[in-house]
């Protein structure tokens, strides 16, 4: 499915944005393409709300990972993945939250317009997020990179796209 993925800094500024138009699938319709950043921006409200909940309401998400806050007590980053947090006209929106309050957020679409078939494979998406998070941390370790600045590295971009190809194509 084509996806629109963004890493959002703590000032609601985009650090990295990418659209994954997989060749075997259709890309976003143009009107949605323009809307994508707006949808993601609006969903930040929900992340803000969710990140402080100890017992998240799993009405949207079908993961059972528990709240983001709970994960502070164990060492794994299992619970950074917030699952499906929102949807817009049936396009699900998943998100992943780093401990530095950097938001990884993605809008999924099947590209066919038939939203009923947009299903998320939580495990795959979670793996994708975790690997991107790892790469983000590596980018963070670059002494020339300042937190919250846009990541412009073409290597980062190509690797994220590679990961997307690996995990998000079905």
């Amino acid at each position: 499915m084509p996806c629109y993925f963004a890493i959002i800094g703590y000032q609601d500024n985009p650090i990295y944005e990418a659209e994954f138009p997989f060749p075997q699938l259709q890309s976003f319709p143009p009107e949605l393409k323009e809307l994508n950043p707006f949808i993601l921006h609006a969903s930040l409200d929900i992340i803000d709300d969710l990140q402080w909940q100890v017992n998240p309401i799993t009405g949207m998400s079908n993961t059972s990972s528990g709240g983001f806050l709970r994960s502070r007590h164990n060492n794994s980053n299992e619970n950074c993945y917030l699952g499906k947090i929102d949807h817009f006209y049936g396009f699900p929106i998943t998100s992943y939250l780093s401990y530095g309050n950097i938001r990884f957020i993605m809008i999924h679409s099947n590209g066919t317009g038939n939203v009923n078939s947009t299903q998320i494979d939580d495990n795959q998406v979670k793996l994708f997020y975790q690997e991107v998070h790892e790469m983000y941390i590596k980018a963070l370790m670059n002494p020339f990179y300042k937190v919250n600045d846009p990541i412009t590295s073409p290597v980062f971009d190509s690797r994220v796209r590679m990961l997307a190809n690996k995990y998000l194509t079905k």
């Binding site: 500024n13 950043p37 707006f38 921006h41 929900i46 709300d49 009405g59 949207m60 006209y89 009923n116």
Partner: protein, 1222 residues
Amino acid sequence: MVESYSLIGPAKIRTLVIPIGKWKRAQFLEKLVLLRKRFEVRLVDVTPTEDATFNPQGFPQGRLMFDFETFLLEEDDMLFLHDFEPYRKTFVVIGLVAQGTLETDTLQELETRFPNAICHNLICFDEPSGLLAPNVFYHPQSSVETIICDIGRKFLEALSLYYSSYKHVTLRSPGAIGGSSILKLSLTRQPASVPAASALTRKISSMEQPNSSSIRRSASLKSLGLTNGYPDQQRAKARQRKILGNFQLLAGRYSDALTSFSEAATTLHKIHDHIWLGSALEGICISMLLLTYLQVTFHIPAIINILCPMRTESRSGSESNSRKSSFSKNAAESPRASISSMPPKMNSLESTDINLASLIRRISERILIHYEASLSHNIEFAPQLIYCEHILRILKFMTSCYNHESLDEIVLRRINADEFELDENEEKYHNQEGLFTKFEIYLHAQRLFELQLKLMDVVSQVKIYTTMALIYQRLKYYRKRSFILRILLVTTASHSESGALQDYCLNADRGLLKDVLDSYGVFRQPEISMKDASVCTWVTLQKSILSLCISIVKRLGDTEMVTELSLIFLQRFSHTITQMEQSQLLMKNIIPNFSKSEKWSYWDPFILRGLEITRLESNEEHLERRTIHTPSDDPSFKDVQVFNPFRQRLINGVTNPIDKAMDKPHEFRIGEGAQFEIVFQNPLKTDLKITHVSFTREDSKYVNFLDDLVQELPFVLGPNSIKTLHAPVSFKKNTELHTISEMDVGVFDLQPYSFRIAIDERFALASEGTDENGRANFGKFVFAVLPDEPKIEFVSSSLRESAFMILDGAKKTFEIKIHNKSLSCPAVFVDVGHITNVETGLKSDYWKKLLPDDLYEVENQLKELQNNCIRIIDKPHILEPNSTAVLQVELDTMGAPFTFKKFEILLDYSSKQTASDSRSFYSKTLKIPFDLTLKRTLEITGLDVVPLPETVEEQSDDIDFVNFFKRESEVGRVDASDYALLLLDLRNSWKDALEFQIGFENFLSSKTTLQTDHTCRTVIPIKKSLLNHKLLQREVPKLVANRQFVNPGISREQLEDIREKFWCREMLIQKLTCTWTVKGHANIHGKVDSRQFLPKVDSRTLDILCPSRKHTLEVKLVASETVVSSGTKVDVKALINSQRPRHTPDEIATFTFLIFDRRTGRLLPKSNSRVIYNGNLTRKVKLAKDSDTGLELLPLDRGEYEIGCSINSRVFNSIPVYIRVE
């Protein structure tokens, strides 16, 4: 508009208020507010009506609630819903009649204009007159409350009439009335499945029996016969029942309405009339809520218990559990399951036992299921509007309850009065868990996005979006709200026909647009505020929303707003748009509108990047600002001569070069031309045309551009460039100090605007409290304009080409002529001086590494040059305009070094009238340079001092010094040991023979002729006593005071040595005089400056001239006989003469006699057989006064002996005693 989505909206009577006659908008709105404040009428206050159905007495606690509106926006479009939901109809029309405009046919006209309303009323704001119909009210006469009560009564009467017309009509669903034009519910997901009919029917029928008795309570209800008949009949009757419920809600009979709705719902459920069932269930919710508001207890209808089974729990009990369970996938919830879990005692539920808010929510879920279930039907389907509005109503209800723990009075009142904003007290509870969590409400709101909202008509869309925006705002989901508002804007923008609508939702001050733009951070001011500039933003969003807003306001024709937004676009996001877009914004949106209003100006604060000046007339002499020192100032103190270890660092330290450059004022004279270099910056990707440049009004008093500037304008700057404009200026008025910090610049033929000079960008945040918070570091240009000055010029001198040759030591006098060129200003001379190349060639720190005697030498020379070498006789004080003066200059080369080659006469003058500050004035300096060649004449090439031989008298007579001694001895006794001889070698370097004469104190040589290039030696007698100890002890004098010497690293002894030699030389220089005349030219004469030629004296000379300079004691040995025979006794006496009174009275020294063998020069041992003596050789003597001591010697061996002595083994006598033993 939003008000229509209140949950209790269906219980409100839609009332249209219209103005009649001439009203001012504000006045009319004032009256409207008056009405709106009293929207609620208690039934107990309403006079009873005759008809039983809606008689207010039937339920005196009830209320009539009016919903005063001023427009009929959707009346006709919604006509198909009037049968289904009759509350949508506008029942009442109230005409507000302005003063004096009431006419008899006004009421009739109102009725004809609004035939659909059932109750027409007039409220006159006037004294009662003329028309006295029952529907006409006079305001000041009867209070607003009474009027509304009366209108309420009229409405109830009319309503019963209106209802009676419904009694025998077969009610059809909206789908049946509207046909295909009705938008069917368009879900983006699979609709809920249809409940299984058979199971339900069974259940319902089984529970009908116990209920039937209660249904038959009301007489009027019997006629409906709900429980009998065929399904079609049953359906019709149940629908009638539901309609009745709606009317009862309007009439305030809430408990009757509850009964009607629940009966209707029971039947409708049985016959699967989903859409009507949904509506009936909603009616039940509203009735229950209103009854709770009125604090009337009621039974939960059985049908609710079936459809939404619940446990009897106290309100505060484990709510969260029940809520949670209800949250599981609602859409998939099957009615079948709920029936199987039906509780046994369904009738015993009292209103106080349940959590009403939660129940309403669950009923709402159920209603939605039924609406969705109706989709499978061709006619009996739920229109999307009904579905949406229901969601919105419940959303609003949930939001009202949000962060309240229970349905307390505040919430109920708020729901009732339809107040949506939180007051401050409630804000405190924001984080508490309320009846519904934020997320629950949000999830409910998301249901709207399962629908294809785009398919609905614009009005409905706008209504939905605005309501959602409000709800998000209440939940503090500001980003969601912004998103919804954006969708709203896109929606309105895409419907070009809805211009009026746009105007409506984007009211006059464009609050909504500004709100959206602000929420996306478009109004941040990175060009002004440092803080905003440092914040990262999502430019994609900002750009997109901004272009959307521009297109909307453009369509609205609001040029001002278009300009404002385009300006923002260009100013803050120019880096994200292409050149094409930029020029379009500029040419289409900004520039045409700029000229219309004066409030617009060029937007970039960085347009003016610098201001520099170039002087056009470079040969203009320099003006110096001088300060008159008062006596209290210390003029001699010069900072440079005090050692300051930090000075070096100050020079090398980092200073701000910009400040330095900018702070130093440039000085100009009135009328002087100069060229300003004005640096402009163009941030645009298109050309920037600068059409106007001028000084501000304050600045233009002093300086103005010449007309040539007009030719330069318009000045075009290429894309993204910085370019300099050269503009000639002239200065108009004198000023002490003027600062230009801004200039008026106009671009694109627009109104000029003042811009400050932005030197560079600022990156660090200014500390708090300072008002300078802008993005730029501003510069300034400082200059002073001086008034007219006199101008003196050098006319001529008596020398040819200002150059001459002079013999060393000679004098010369010449004249110079000067002229004051100015025709108006007299020149007042401040100072007339001169400077030579010797002075200018010196470094400022020449004194630092010199020894004291060398320094004296150098400074003495400078002093000589300054004071004696060049003298100007008749110094003038003032030179009148256009007058000439002659100066006499006397040059004396005596004392001038051979390096003296040039000198300048300096004339400092001023007009003295400049000084506004009396302590300072401006002065000019006229320099008149001269060249000279100094030719060597008589030189002293060598110097030697020898002791005077004892036999002076024997010398021949023609020697000068012998004659001198002879003359001296005639006067008195001459002791040869008092004199020494000074031998001077003189050389004639001039091309002619010179005749010279040397003098030393009272010695004067005879005139001697010296041929060219010849040298001769002259002998001069010097009296030794000229050098005494006191003179030698003096410090080397310092000619310049207040210098801080750093120790040059010489020891005290060396210093003493320097001192003694210095004074010795000084003595020689002072006493020695030498004059010369060129042989054959008596008028060419001069003096020899011995200081120039005399070398430093050496120690030997010093020893000769002052032999005892190191001794504090003088010992004189006297022997009784000098030639004795062996064995003869000799007495030797030592006279100790204490020369200096520096010895302490009790100081005792060791005195020792020393006996040498003169031939070998060896000291004889203390005990020897050659010379024997009595007593000790060593003895103690007192130094306080002159004393003597003696020694008796008995020489035994023959030979020559030398007797000496020493005091303290340090001081030895100078003249020994010799004894020859024969």
